[in-house]
Structures are given as structure tokens and as C-alpha cells.
């Protein structure tokens, strides 16, 4: 996981965006978008494989996955550019599976932005409104309103080729917002921007979404982006949704080895369950050379093979042997990645298994600083490990 994402996670932990907004936890809430058993095949290739998904009104939902995982196909089916081979899609209770794109209450911001090169900024934004047959003065007022919202009012008469990448992105967004869709789809909206602009635009997009209150569904391969912007994330792999949850859920409580490994960095230990009482699980772990003690409420059977996942920042590293706690391990520092604010220590355990530990560099210098080949002890809390059964 790269640096900006850690920052994003930190800001989320200290200041949650919308603490009260979690309609997905309310069993009575009716979702705005519903995918029901959606499968899409291109010849023999299964792009999307039996997806069931519910997205609520006002959400900023991200479909996250590597390229080829089916996330874009899923989005394009929502926009109407692809028809599902099986299953149906409901928007606001209406089955739109057979509705052509020009009649759907959704708008898409394309990865390439797809601005009409022969039209000025305001003509681009007005295009969708003209299709609705709105009167001229209403169109003009709406165009001005959305261009001001994305701070592009000054550039109304420019042609797309006279704009920078970031400005084009704003115009593409304004063109969608002008239509006031029920759902706004974003296909890798920030992929074409450079890193600095991307980080700035992430927060701006979230602010705009907050203000207009439109449901956003975004496709991205960038987990930092998904983490920063989303209310919930759907992690996709080979056409299937692996897990749906808030960024915190996905990161702290991944549901599978795939998600644990895909999101952020993870230390994984294979083992077998020795004891499980519904609150704690004790896992025999040859890679660690010891038993692991994990707080885990889920049902696991004694003797079952499991993976225990611990995030690098959830571990501490030091020269002293920990005096309390059940979970510790001994090893040698094999590598140090110094990143300024933090260092990542690669610790080789006796079994040869290498564990990553992330430590904040709290002091300028110090005798405590670890160096290569130092004998160290790792320690972590039972509550900070996760048992993965799949």
C-alpha cells in the first residue's frame, strides 16, 4: 500500500465523514440500485459471474478490482451499454435491463471523459439538457449553475482541446450533473490525472457528491481512491464480488484471503484451529513456531485449516522480549524500508517466513533505532488479528 493511502486511512479513522449515514445496516431501507443474479458472458468468457448487489440512495459506492475483474462491465450494464446475459438490474424499483442507455435515469462520466471535441464547454454541458427538450433559458441557467459548481464558469466558451486534463474532468462531471441523474457512474474518473491533482480531486468529488446528493457509483483499480471516497466498497475478482463493506470493514475485517491480500499489506499465517470457543480461537501455526491467539466470534471447527491475517501497523517490533500478551514472535531484521514518517521492517522468523512490520518514526534519531540483523521480538494484540476461513 503506498503512502497516500495510509494518510487517507488515518484521516478516516479520526474524522468519519458521515457517521450517521449507513442505510445498508437498516433492514427496512429499500436500495436504489439492485443487481439480481447478474451474469455477463462475451462468447466463452464470463466477465461478470452471478453478482447480487444493492446500492442505497446517496451512497458513494466503489467497485474495486484489478483490470479484467468485471467491474467496468458491471458499470456499463448499469449505464445500458451492455445487456446482462442473465439476471436483472433495478433502479428505483424499475427493471431497466432492457431499457436503452438514452432512456435510463443514469449518467456516466467516461474514463476518457468523451467530451464532444467540436462543441464548447457550455455546449457540451447543454447537450444532455437539449435532449430533454428544456426551454433555452432553463438550459442556460442550469449550465451556468453546474459549471460554477465545478468552478469552470470562466471556461464556458473554450473548446475541450483548449483545456487541461483536470479541467476536462470537471466539464465531464458538470455534463453529468446537469442531467440530475438518479445515479452518476464514474469510470476510473481520476486515472488520467497526475498524482497531486488526483488526491486533491478525490476530496473535491466527495464534497460535490455531498452537496448534490446524487448516488455515485465509481469503478476504480486504485484502492487508495476507493478508500478515500467511498461510503462502501465492493471488491471484485474474476467477475464476482468478493466482499462489500465500508472502507474500515474491508481493511480491518477482510472476509477472505483475496481481499486481505488485495487491500493494503497483510501478513498471513497458515495454520490449523486447535481450540475455538466462539470468542477466542487458538491456531497452531508452524510458520510462527507458536500458537496464535485471536479474538474471533465466528464459528470455526477445531482442526479446520485457517489463515490468520495481521496488518503490518498492528504489530510492534523491539529488542525486548514482550512480558505480557500471548502473541509474540522472534526474528531477525532482514530489510528496512525507510519512508521518512514510517519505516517498514521485514523480519525473518526462525521458520524463514518474512513478516512486515510498520513503525512510526517518532524521534529524529536514537539508540533504539533498529538495524539489519538485529534480533527482535514482534508482538501484537489478540484483537488485531483476523481469522480467514476462505
Amino acid at each position: 500500500m503506498d503512502r497516500c493511502q495510509d494518510g487517507a486511512l488515518a484521516s478516516m479513522a479520526t474524522a468519519p465523514k458521515k457517521p450517521a449515514f449507513s442505510p445498508w445496516t437498516d433492514p427496512a431501507a429499500v436500495p436504489l440500485i439492485r443487481f439480481e443474479g447478474i451474469t455477463k458472458r462475451f462468447g466463452d468468457f464470463v466477465a461478470v459471474d452471478g453478482v447480487d448487489l444493492a446500492i442505497h440512495k446517496g451512497e458513494f459506492f466503489s467497485l474495486l478490482g484489478a483490470s479484467g475483474c468485471g467491474k467496468t462491465t458491471l458499470l456499463r450494464m448499469l449505464a445500458g451499454f451492455e445487456t446482462p446475459t442473465e439476471g436483472r438490474i433495478l433502479i428505483d424499483g424499475v427493471d431497466v435491463s432492457a431499457v436503452p442507455p438514452f432512456e435510463r435515469p443514469v449518467n456516466m462520466m467516461f474514463q476518457s471523459y468523451a467530451l464532444f471535441p467540436h462543441m464548447s464547454v457550455e455546449q457540451n454541458v447543454a447537450f444532455g439538457l437539449k435532449q430533454d427538450g428544456l426551454p433555452k433559458d432553463r438550459i442556460a441557467a442550469k449550465v451556468r449553475e453546474v459549471l460554477d459548481l465545478v468552478q469552470m464558469g470562466k471556461f464556458a466558451r473554450r473548446k475541450p482541446h483548449q483545456l487541461s486534463g483536470g479541467q476536462r474532468q470537471r466539464v465531464a462531471l458538470a455534463r453529468c450533473l446537469a442531467k440530475e441523474p438518479k445515479v452518476l457512474l464514474l469510470d476510473e474518473p481520476l486515472a488520467a490525472l497526475d498524482k497531486k491533482l488526483r488526491e486533491q480531486t478525490q476530496l473535491e468529488l466527495v464534497n460535490i457528491q455531498d452537496r448534490v446528493g446524487i448516488t455515485f457509483v465509481m469503478v476504480t483499480h486504485d484502492q487508495g481512491e476507493a478508500m478515500t471516497m467511498s461510503s462502501r466498497i465492493g471488491v471484485m475478482n474474476s467477475g464476482q464480488i468478493q466482499q462489500v463493506g465500508t472502507p474500515v470493514d474491508i481493511y480491518e475485517f477482510p472476509g477472505s484471503r483475496f481481499v486481505a491480500d488485495f487491500i493494503g499489506a497483510a501478513n498471513m499465517f497458515e495454520g490449523t484451529v486447535r481450540k475455538a470457543d466462539g470468542q477466542r480461537v487458538v491456531v497452531a501455526c508452524p510458520e510462527l513456531g507458536r500458537d496464535l491467539d485471536v479474538l474471533h466470534a465466528g464459528a470455526v471447527m477445531a482442526g479446520a485449516p485457517v489463515t490468520v491475517m495481521i496488518r503490518p501497523e498492528k504489530m510492534s517490533v523491539g529488542r525486548e522480549r514482550p512480558t505480557e500478551g500471548l502473541n509474540w514472535a522472534q526474528g531477525v531484521i532482514a530489510d528496512i524500508v525507510y519512508l521518512g514518517d514510517v519505516s517498514i521492517y521485514h523480519v525473518r522468523l526462525v521458520s524463514g517466513h518474512v513478516v512486515q512490520v510498520l513503525q512510526t518514526n517518532l524521534r529524529h534519531t536514537g539508540d533504539l533505532r533498529l538495524i539489519w540483523e538485529d534480533e527482535v521480538f514482534l508482538a501484537w494484540n489478540s484483537a488485531n488479528a483476523v481469522v480467514l476461513t476462505q
Binding site: 449505464a79 443514469v106 476518457s112 468523451a114 464532444f116 471535441p117 447537450f127 482541446h161
Partner: protein
């Protein structure tokens, strides 16, 4: 030193085509222009020299615009020009109406099909132009293929007189020049970003309106390029009106031929040629900046 070499290198690479055009186009054109200002005579060459050394050492310049005033004064020439422009314009329009859908279909065909389809458009070039136009006589003549089929089908009772009419000339032109319309249009339509059409649909635009609002304006450079490639040679076309047209088919190419080879009036013939160039240069001048602007816009 290196920069100097580079600059010279660039210059030298550009030189051959310009040298070629200077020797084989500019100089002959200036010769034709010179002849157009002189007077006809019997003899070799069949025109009077422009510049003459008089015996007293003075230089006499015999240049006049008389040939051009002849062109303007004689309705034959004016009508020939107008008719040429008219037929070329109709031919261009027909080529556009036939060629656009064809180019569009090829550009949107599965990529494996595009090359074979393009080959088929270019295939006629493998046969001599003259033979292909000749073949049309066999199709269009009263006892020809077309009339035979129409009579057999019972659509007509007696053969249509298509040969030796403007219609035959038009058919020949549309047939001969269609590839010149299709190829630039294809090149333009093929590179169009299809996500623009998806964006149009996404914004509530039906497919046909999206074509009018997005595809058509973006393909304007291709339309202009194709139209010029058809229109310009069509105006001066000689072979097609000569073979397929009748004695009444008045076209400037035929007039030019008649002046040069039948009347042997080189000065008037040259004036006809120079005037034709002027007639053709004007539309090019009008369309050129327009095309450039569009090209930038589409980038």
C-alpha cells in the same frame, strides 16, 4: 555544425518532391500561361512568341488578354464551364450520398473485415481506368446490359437512351470517383472515438440524432477531403464525357481537347486551361482554412 547539418538534411529531404513539382508542374504551367497570353498563327509552334527582338535593338512584348476576353465573350465557353461545375457538383453529391454510408459501414465493421472491405473499394484501380469507362458503354447502350435487364423485367417497353447523355457521364463519374470519396471518409470515421456516441446516448440522445449531432460534424474534414478529391478531377474530366457523353455534352475537358487538337488554337486552349485552374483554386481556397480548423478541433 551538427545543427546546420540537421537543418540542411531536413531541407534536402523535402527538396525532391518540390523539385519534381517545379519541373513537371510549375514550369509547364507557366509555359501554358505564357501561351495563353500570345496570339495564334499557322506554323510551328502554332503561336507567336511573346518577346521579340526588333531590328533596331528594342524589345517588343506581344502579350494580351484577348484569349481570355474570347472565353468570356463566347457563351460556349461559359456554358461549358458552368455545365462542368454542375455535373461535377452532382457527381460529388452522389458520391457523398453513396460513399458516406459505405465508409461508415466499413469503419464500424468488425476489424477483421475492414481490410478486405477496403480492398474491394480499391479493387477497380487494378484495371485500367479507360477500360472500365469503356465497359460502361456495354452496360448503358440501348442494346446493352442495363436495358436488356430492364426490358426482361418488364419495367420498360423500349430501350432507354442513357448513352450519350449527361446521365451517362454522371454514372461514369460516380462510378470512377467513388473510391476517392470512400477512402478519406473511412480514414476519418475509423479514428472517431466511439465513446463519444456512448456519451451522447448516455445523455439521452437517440442514435440517429447522435449521428447528426456528433458523427456528422466530426466527419466534416473527411467530407471536405473526399469531396475535393472527387470534384476537382471531375470538373476537368475528359475521358468520361468523351466516351459516355454525346455531342451535346458540353464539358470543359472536351472543349480543351477540341481547341488543342481540332482547332489547333493553342493560345485559346491554354487560356481555357488557365481559367479552369482559377475556377478550381477558388473552392480549394474557401475550404482549406475550414478543414484545418476542424482538424484541430477533432484532435
Amino acid at each position: 555544425m551538427k545543427r546546420l547539418m540537421e537543418r540542411w538534411g531536413r531541407f534536402l529531404v523535402g527538396l525532391p518532391p518540390y523539385a519534381w513539382l517545379t519541373v513537371f508542374f510549375l514550369i509547364p504551367f507557366l509555359t501554358v500561361m505564357k501561351i495563353s497570353l500570345s496570339e495564334a498563327r499557322m506554323g510551328v509552334p502554332p503561336y507567336l512568341p511573346l518577346v521579340e527582338w526588333a531590328e533596331d535593338g528594342t524589345i517588343a512584348l506581344h502579350a494580351g488578354l484577348a484569349n481570355f476576353t474570347t472565353l468570356l465573350g463566347d457563351p460556349l465557353y461559359v456554358l461549358a464551364y458552368l455545365n462542368s461545375l454542375r455535373i461535377a457538383a452532382i457527381a460529388t453529391t452522389c458520391c457523398l450520398l453513396l460513399g458516406y454510408p459505405a465508409a461508415y459501414a466499413i469503419a464500424r465493421a468488425p476489424s477483421a473485415w475492414r481490410q478486405p472491405l477496403l480492398m474491394m473499394v480499391a479493387l477497380p484501380f487494378w484495371t485500367s481506368f479507360l477500360i472500365r469507362v469503356y465497359a460502361w458503354i456495354g452496360i448503358l447502350k440501348p442494346e446493352g446490359l442495363l436495358n436488356g435487364v430492364l426490358l426482361w423485367l418488364g419495367v420498360i417497353d423500349e430501350p432507354l437512351q442513357i448513352m450519350e447523355t449527361d446521365l451517362a457521364v454522371l454514372i461514369g463519374m460516380v462510378y470512377s470517383y467513388l473510391p476517392f470519396m470512400v477512402l478519406p471518409l473511412f480514414a476519418n470515421l475509423e479514428k472517431m472515438d466511439l465513446s463519444l456516441l456512448e456519451a451522447a446516448a448516455d445523455l439521452g440522445c437517440r442514435p440517429f440524432r447522435a449521428f447528426l449531432a456528433v458523427t456528422l460534424p466530426l466527419s466534416l474534414p473527411g467530407i471536405v477531403a473526399g469531396s475535393m478529391l472527387v470534384f476537382i478531377p471531375a470538373v476537368g474530366e475528359f475521358v468520361i464525357p468523351d466516351l459516355l457523353g454525346g455531342p451535346d455534352t458540353l464539358m470543359i475537358g472536351k472543349v480543351l481537347w477540341a481547341e488543342f487538337f481540332d482547332n489547333r488554337d493553342w493560345p485559346v486552349a491554354s487560356a481555357v486551361a488557365v481559367a479552369m485552374l482559377l475556377v478550381l483554386v477558388v473552392p480549394v481556397m474557401v475550404f482549406q482554412p475550414f478543414q484545418k480548423d476542424r482538424g484541430e478541433g477533432a484532435a
